[in-house]
């Protein structure tokens, strides 16, 4: 009995709530309120699936859930793009190369990259919503032959809010990817499309009956995107969303991320639309 208890003592640490410390190898400003960190995993690399997130801890300040935005094939580098909107993220923005960030994760499920082999892929992103989708983009581009058409539709508020601009321009120059970008409000110098991202759907080319759509952005944007995709013939079963709620633990204990019967941290953050359809139209769920 005594030995039993001893063994239990050894495992009783709150390991699941302890971050590991990663060094920042590169800190890059993206837009006026977003920035990207490349982090160096401490030991045997960092593996994740596109769409998963980490809890990022700023020493003594606090912890926030942030989706992973790097290449899932690169285990030597963990990449996060963060928007400075709250106390913790605003303080994270001040970190420089060589500083250290606590990491717990990866948590959550992933975009259906395996299930959608053979299909056209339509990726619709709004604002910072591009960050959790970028690992999927990396994946489908590096396994290009396994997919049909690849379409990226991206909308931001203004041209200054466009994330990963150089990279998007690079994708746009390829002949095997269709990239369309729109802004809600043009500023001087913008000669591109103006309007909501849903307008881009009818401008793009894909086979709606053989398409998997992955959407991430504000809920209102996702709602209208789903409507528009459905109008074009994409079935609800082939539409996937990434949801966001307050999150304190990432492992299903804190209760904050409950979305109807689901916990976004462990049942999500990616949901096939039919599983959340009834919740999606309700207010304050």
């Amino acid at each position: 009995m005594a030995t039993n208890r001893k063994q239990k003592t050894d495992i009783a640490a709150s390991i699941e709530m302890m971050p590991e410390f990663f060094s920042i190898t590169r800190a890059q400003k993206e837009t006026h309120d977003t920035f990207t960190f490349d982090l160096e995993p401490p030991s045997d690399g960092f593996k994740f699936a596109p769409g998963q997130f980490n809890m990022l801890y700023l020493f003594g300040v606090g912890e926030v859930p942030i989706s992973i935005s790097g290449d899932p094939a690169d285990h030597e580098k963990l990449v996060h793009t963060i928007r400075a909107v709250g106390n913790i993220t605003k303080n994270m923005q001040k970190l420089k190369k060589g500083d250290v960030l606590g990491v717990r994760g990866p948590f959550g499920n992933s975009w259906p990259i395996g299930e959608s082999i053979g299909n056209d892929i339509v990726i619709v992103a709004g604002g910072i919503g591009l960050a959790p989708l970028r690992p999927s983009i990396y994946h489908v581009l590096s396994h290009r032959e396994k997919y049909g058409k690849i379409v990226l539709l991206y909308g931001t508020r203004t041209p200054e809010d466009i994330l990963y601009r150089t990279e998007i321009e690079g994708w746009r120059s390829r002949f095997d990817v269709e990239v369309l970008v729109t802004v809600d409000r043009a500023t001087s110098g913008w000669r591109g499309v103006v309007g909501v991202v849903t307008n881009l759907i009818s401008r793009s080319h894909f086979d709606p009956f053989n398409t998997v759509a992955m959407i991430c952005g504000p809920e209102i944007m996702m709602r209208f995107t789903i409507q528009e995709l459905q109008k074009h013939g994409v079935s609800f079963e082939n539409i996937y969303l990434s949801m966001e709620r307050n999150m304190k633990c990432g492992i299903g204990f804190c209760g904050h991320c409950q979305y109807g019967p689901t916990f976004i941290c462990k049942d999500g953050p990616i949901f096939p639309y039919p599983t959340v359809k009834d919740l999606f139209i309700k207010r304050e769920i």
Partner: protein, 392 residues
């Protein structure tokens, strides 16, 4: 099962412990290293705290409970367990209201992190009611039988001695019968007792539920229970069932609540609910928590604390841009729908055990049994609902 063999016969035996032998229980438990927690009087309420002997128990006290009401009264006899739901359940001993998870130190860019050592006390819980025993099994589902397991909870839970007590009368806000969680203790206990107070005799009809329970029992002076004792105990529990003044009809309740997320009744409740979070604090199954990361003035030492949280606060659902549930109606709806509907999808049980604490401790007396029935009735009377159904 091999453990069971040598005591097989004894194990199922029902015994009687006389009141004047009851204190042996404390000696036996203490000798085996248990720290006994049980009911005791404190500031006009019966709470769970350290118990040394039966004098620490609320001898002769009963509680009078109703929506928004809790009073202690002295009854004519010297019953040890004459009361019902205590303000707090066993939750604080397993899932602490405030717990440090780790401490960390920074030295330049070197960080060390020290996990919190668990409290090395094994508890014996004395006077666990059937509803609260179910509540513990529900918390087990949340913290142990999940994809992740909470190590602090798992540790606290690993070696608890549970001395359950059958309810011999129903409390004013109880509805365990309709939740199928009581009043009779049926599983999850080490020993279970029914207290019998007669004019000339005060005794406990006791049986063990585990070999561990029997080990404790057989060190206490006992006699084998006769038919009269067993029947008397059973009659008291049966009487409790008939006394229960509240009930929830749980048939189809999950779909009923999902279908009625826009019921006008939510708005009506919102006019009364103060969002004070009392119901979630006293609930034996509400498990939500928040994380507080703190630091000292130098910024070189940091700690992580976990504290109980409630879905009734605005901060609970805050994300960039504002709270997801700013209005009272949506926060009450979240709580109630979680308890009776979403919980079933998440953990395969209700999140409610019918202990009635949320009714007793609601400062405005909101009664969950009444609200559920109202939502159900408004569904039946609402012509627009009938229309929706026909159109489907």
């Amino acid at each position: 099962m091999s453990d069971l063999k040598k005591t097989d016969q004894d194990f199922t035996k029902v015994v009687v412990i006389e009141r004047n032998n009851f204190d042996f229980l404390f000696d036996v438990l203490t000798k085996r290293g248990y720290h006994v927690i049980g009911p005791t009087l404190n500031e006009g309420a019966i709470i769970y705290d350290t118990i040394r002997n039966s004098n620490d128990l609320p001898l002769g006290w009963i509680d009078e409970q109703n929506s928004g009401k809790y009073r202690l009264l002295k009854q004519g006899n010297q019953a040890l367990f004459g009361f019902n739901s205590t303000p707090q359940s066993w939750k604080p001993f397993l899932h602490k209201p405030r717990a440090r998870l780790w401490q960390s130190k920074r030295d330049g860019n070197k960080f060390t992190i020290i996990p919190e050592a668990p409290e090395n006390r094994k508890f014996a819980f004395l006077c666990v009611r059937s509803c609260d025993l179910y509540a513990i099994s529900i918390l087990d589902k949340v913290f142990i039988d999940s994809p992740f397991s909470d190590s602090q909870y798992r540790f606290q839970r690993s070696d608890i001695f549970i001395a359950a007590v059958n309810c011999t009368h129903a409390g004013g806000t109880c509805f365990c019968l309709s939740m199928n969680t009581g009043p009779e203790v049926t599983e999850g206990y080490d020993i279970v007792m029914t207290e019998v107070v007669e004019n000339d005799r005060h005794y406990f009809v006791v049986s063990a539920g585990t070999p561990k329970g029997w080990e404790i029992l057989h060190d206490i002076p006992y006699t084998e229970a006769n038919t009269h004792d067993i029947e008397t105990a059973a009659r008291l529990v049966d009487k409790t069932k008939t006394e229960m003044g509240r009930a929830i009809d749980t048939t189809g309740i999950k779909q009923m609540l999902y279908n009625n997320s826009e019921s006008p009744r939510w708005q009506e409740i919102a006019r009364r609910c103060l969002t004070c979070a009392n119901c979630t604090m006293v609930c034996p199954t509400c498990f939500c928590s928040t994380i507080e990361d703190v630091t000292d003035l130098t910024g070189d030492e940091a700690e992580r604390w976990r504290k109980w949280d409630s879905c009734f606060t605005m901060d609970f659902s805050y994300i960039h841009g504002g709270s997801i549930r700013p209005s009272v109606f949506s926060r009450y709806r979240q709580w109630l729908t979680h308890k009776f509907a979403a919980w079933q999808d998440q953990f395969g049980t209700f999140g409610c055990v019918g202990c009635g604490r949320c009714i007793t401790w609601c400062p405005v007396g909101i009664d969950v049994t009444e609200e559920i029935n109202s939502i159900k009735n408004s569904e039946q009377n609402n012509p627009s609902n009938i229309l929706i159904k026909e159109n489907r």
